[in-house]
Point group: C2
Chain length 281, copies 2
């Protein structure tokens, strides 16, 4: 596995593979890799000749009050995980390498952003779309792998690829969970040990929702109340949102039919966790 920090040098390497007709699988990350990322890398490994993992904590997608500075970073650790999972390259540019000057052109996301996490993170998905546009143009992937855990991000990137006509296929990958059901996340390290135990209630509230829906409940409000009760009773966290939308359009839904998503975000003392479940009823 090779690690590149400079765009020009990495491009040369990529161009060589493109000339030889090799397919490129791309896993964009902000680093601090965990088993969730590992499953993305392994899937990319199984489906492509070359696997690129990018590690870049993108300042453009963090709000001023968000955790850009404290976002965990550990390139040494990440190298081990990426190599073990079968990556051929880590592309880990510095901020000045990616943004030598404040960008004069950025991507603006106009739909699917005013719900779920987007609502409380204005500009977040513009930052995501901008950095992915840059990374797609540097890595030139055939397929790009994203965790379904960040379902809104997957929906937005679906729009980015379609609207900008990127010759890239998006591959969503199922959420990887701890044994007790908590979705893997780089931010889980910020939970206190008490919060870590409580946090299992997030996934369990989704399981309870699924059971209710399987039992014929089709009312979004009832499902949301049910989940709210579970999370409020069993955790010290503060619910940011529990919402249900059509998927991938992320439009409001009155009766739980067709493809939809139940998604939630809960704020603990030093970490905000998200989880979701997709349905096709």
């Amino acid at each position: 596995m090779k690690v590149f920090e400079r765009i020009t040098e990495f491009r040369n390497e990529i161009n060589e593979h493109k000339r030889n007709g090799r397919t490129i699988g791309f896993v964009p990350t902000m680093g601090y890799l965990h088993e969730g990322h590992l499953s993305l890398i392994e899937k990319a490994r199984a489906e492509n000749d070359i696997v690129v993992v990018s590690i870049f904590v993108n300042p453009l997608q963090f709000g001023p009050a968000e955790d850009y500075d404290s976002y965990p970073r550990d390139l040494g650790h990440d190298k081990g995980i990426a190599e073990k999972a079968g990556a051929d390259y880590i592309f880990a540019p510095s901020v000045p390498e990616m943004y030598p000057t404040p960008p004069s052109v950025t991507a603006t996301v106009k739909e699917r952003t005013d719900v779920l996490c987007g609502k409380s993170r204005p500009g977040h998905f513009d930052g995501v779309a901008t950095v992915l546009t840059k990374l797609f143009n540097i890595v030139l992937p055939d397929k790009a792998y994203f965790g379904q855990k960040d379902a809104q991000q997957v929906a937005v990137i679906e729009g980015l690829i379609k609207d900008f006509n990127f010759p890239v296929k998006l591959v969503p990958v199922e959420t990887v969970r701890e044994e007790d059901g908590l979705a893997k996340s780089s931010r889980n390290v910020f939970l206190t040990s008490a919060e870590r135990k409580e946090a299992t209630a997030l996934h369990e509230s989704l399981i309870a929702a699924r059971a209710a829906i399987e039992n014929g409940n089709r009312d979004p409000e009832t499902i949301i109340e049910l989940m709210k009760k579970i999370i409020e009773t069993r955790t010290s966290g503060k619910i940011d949102y529990i919402e249900i939308y059509t998927y991938p359009e992320l439009k409001p839904i009155d009766v739980l039919e067709g493809r939809f998503i139940i998604a939630l975000a809960v704020r603990f003392s030093a970490a905000r966790l998200i989880d979701n479940m997709l349905f096709d009823v």
Copy 2:
């Protein structure tokens, strides 16, 4: 020469060339090709294995009060010109092919837009940057050719390519002129015959400016006044702007030194014409 209207079919053709390592030169146009375009196509022909001309009147870059509907279109004529100049492909998609739904993600240009033509065309360069992002991702060019006549556009696209990391080299091509000096433009057909004669004053005002600068004049205001007088005396047109900026940054300039641009726009009864001259003093 082949003509494609569908993205998917055109992509297959392009991919075949990419696989064979052929270089692609790209001339994006809005059609109604004239000798200005011809010089772009010829230059692309001389420098690349494959030459693609796109013809697409992009609704996104026209304001509500602008001439989108009346913009001249003549695909039959364009085919003749493009083939004669050596193009291998015309890519001429329909509006629904390029925008099957209103785009959920667009490009936003944050610099170099509040001067020259951009000032009176809010959103224009966002539309240009968005459609070029799409076209670059479809055509996958090595080099893209743009007329220096639209100098602000060249400066904005320079920013687009750099900030989105497109693996594309921008090639600016000198303005092609009629024998009497008028810059070639698809919009010249809208001039009355009286206006057509007057319009030579635009280029002549730039020549007068150059002479003054060569004689040691370094004051932007004096130069602008000199040009204003020529255009106001000799034409019935209304001056939209005569402005001088550093190039390609398009920042204000106090003393005429270094690289700068003098640019003008004049509104006639049914056509707004632009012209400019680059200096390196």
